[in-house]
Amino acid sequence: MKGAVGMNKPELLAPAGSLEKLKYALHYGADAVYIGGRQYGLRSNADNFSVDEMREGVRIAETYGAKVYVTTNIFAHEEDLDGIADYLRQLEDAGIAAIITADPALIEVARREAPRLEVHLSTQQSTLNWLAVQFWKEEGLPRVVLAREASLADIRFIKDKVDIEIETFIHGAMCSSYSGRCVLSNHFTGRDSNRGGCVQSCRWRYDLYERGGRAVGILEREEDKFTLGAKDLGMIEHIPELVAAGIDSFKIEGRMRSLHYVASVVYAYRKAIDAWFADPGGYELRGEWIGELLKAANRPLNTGFYFREPGADDHIYEPEDKPMLVDFAGVVLEYDESTGEALIEQRNHFKPGQTVEFFSPDGVRFRMTVPELADESGRKIDAARHPLQKIRMRTESPVKPMDIMRKWLA
């Protein structure tokens, strides 16, 4: 796709931790999703996909003209190697478009055993320079996910030198280490971070001393102690620069995040990218996009390494929890125009009198006060208390299936 000024429209690539999240990511505007399988992926705690679920995911994606990638981004140990060929053949057979891989052990097997699977080099390889990118191109890889340490200038230079697809993270949580170069979890808890066992020790608090035992950091207050935790990445204000750099795929982090998070973040970037390509000259950053992102974000955001090396303001030295604006309350399953009644599946407690809003791929539809509630059989209830409970509720204006209902917090 060529845009108004000859730029390629980048792919918006979203995380999908489950089949349901996959549906929402696509519905809210992702061009492609990446998912984890039951093996060889780095989020062993995520609700990962079986091969049958992958097949279903690919079928759904096709209805949106979208692609499904599978992360197989562990650094394998000897005992992990058996079975890789079978697994990759299954992915190929299921219609997966690409695997995202860091370990050459998997790259070799994929090329040999599942040649229709594209291999994308994972960010876990910490690729930062054009020579390394050229190396992977010559190995036949069509795409490299750059290190999160790459600056915009680095990216431009690489795109200029090497004819290859470049994918970079534009939003979400980040390892503060070079990806793959952290084994804190292994040392502290015996869990292998490079095989999906990361316990996020970088976000723990540490006392800092110098030789002789004199404190260098602040030891008194828990929240003032030394930590390695990075703020989250958020590039919504810089879409034109990212497009101009020639980045082919804009990646959103977060296979462990809720469908509300994924939908909100995808929405904001979808709108921004589309607005720029519809009219680059008249493009303006809209506060609404940032607003939707802030409803989903749970950490402060910054621009990572894109414009400068992160410094004193780019790490989290205060308590992490920031007050949330909204809570994910439910999703719309059905809407009956004749009665004006919606069937809503509950995700968090809500009750009559509270303010809710309905969020859709077109943005926030409207806000209203929660009226009387009934359960699925029509019996009146005083509150929606149970996860996944189906609730009947009249809405002030029409809603659609897959709309998201948010509860405003006072």
Binding site: W136, S176, R181, V183, G190, G197, Y206, Y209, E309, G311
Partner: protein, 314 residues
């Protein structure tokens, strides 16, 4: 029954001196090889060997029959990659016995200038299986420097499955976290605290609150922030197992240690390897080997088997 020789190849003792003087001492103590380089291209080097010093070091080592490996294993950005061909070309004139790399840019730059020197693949924590090593073997690697998070069983399987040499760190501190961010500086600045020196000589260390006895050295350099293990690997007891496993190189990591300490460690492993190799059947370690290291050991740092007997979960 008396066994007089071991069919196994005798492994090398590899040391990482910080200076010409320390190199002399470590080779004198029995190191078969040294890994050195300059900070511009090498990661977490114990010392700085710019080209003239590298040349002199190579000469010194060779006079004593020791090999020299040039460490060129930084994670490289475009600027550094651009400087790489010239640097490798200069190194090529000295003909190091191997070039230690982590970034594929090194493979590309060597192809570009037509330099043919054996490569040692050192991707730190990411060197964990023989199939990946075989991949790099196809690109000119003759050796894999194994991740310190592998256990003995995995090392044995790795060595059996691949024609490449295998290097295992047998002694010293290991890196457990590497960030490009200057995290100590950021933290101190954020709180308006005096920054001071944050390099290795300051002796900074971090203590996680649930683990008050573990002192993790922390330092910053041009590569960002490094956190090191709170204990020192010491596999002296496992010399027979590692020789039998076919480990080709025993690495004694000299980073954050005194030359005297490193010299003592090299001497101990030298003696153990020589004795076991000469007569594996009736090998008895000399208690003085370990005792000599213990006398110089920082009391806050335990000697440990690292991950040799650990089963990790994920």
């Amino acid at each position: 029954m008396i066994t007089t020789r071991n069919d196994r190849k005798k492994p090398e003792i590899l040391a990482t001196p910080r200076s010409l003087d320390e190199l002399r001492r470590l080779v004198g103590a029995g190191a078969d090889a040294v890994a050195i380089g300059e900070h511009r291209f090498g990661l977490r080097l114990a010392g700085e060997f710019p080209m003239p010093a590298f040349r002199e070091a190579a000469g010194l080592a060779r006079e004593s029959g020791a090999r020299v490996y040039a460490v060129v294993n930084r994670i490289m950005d475009n600027e550094l990659a651009a400087e790489l061909p010239d640097y490798l070309h200069e190194l090529g004139k000295i003909k190091p016995d191997a070039i230690v790399f982590g970034d594929p840019a090194v493979v590309m730059a060597m192809r570009q200038i037509g330099l043919d020197i054996p490569l040692h693949w050192n991707g730190e924590m990411t060197v964990t299986n023989h199939a990946a090593a075989r991949f790099w073997g196809g690109k000119g690697a003759v050796r894999a420097v194994l991740a310190r998070e592998m256990n003995l069983e995995q090392i044995i399987a790795f060595r059996q499955s691949v024609g490449l040499e295998v290097e295992v760190q047998v002694h010293g501190a290991t890196v457990i976290y590497h960030s490009r961010r200057r995290l100590v500086e950021s933290y101190l600045q954020h709180h308006g605290l005096e920054r001071g020196d944050t390099g290795p000589s300051r002796g900074l260390y971090a203590v996680e609150q649930e683990r008050p006895d573990l002192f993790h050295p922390v330092f910053e350099d041009a590569d960002g922030t490094h956190i090191m293990s709170a204990d020192d690997i010491c596999l002296l007891d496992l010399v027979p197992d590692l020789v039998d496993a076919g480990v080709d190189s025993f690495r004694i990591e000299g980073l954050l240690k005194t030359p005297e300490y490193n010299e003592t460690a090299v001497r101990a492993y030298r003696a153990a390897v020589d004795r076991y190799h000469a007569s594996p059947g009736d090998y008895q370690p000399d208690p003085e080997w370990l005792a000599s290291i213990r006398r110089l050991q920082d009391p806050h740092r335990e000697l440990s088997y690292g991950f040799m007997f650990k089963e990790q979960i994920y």
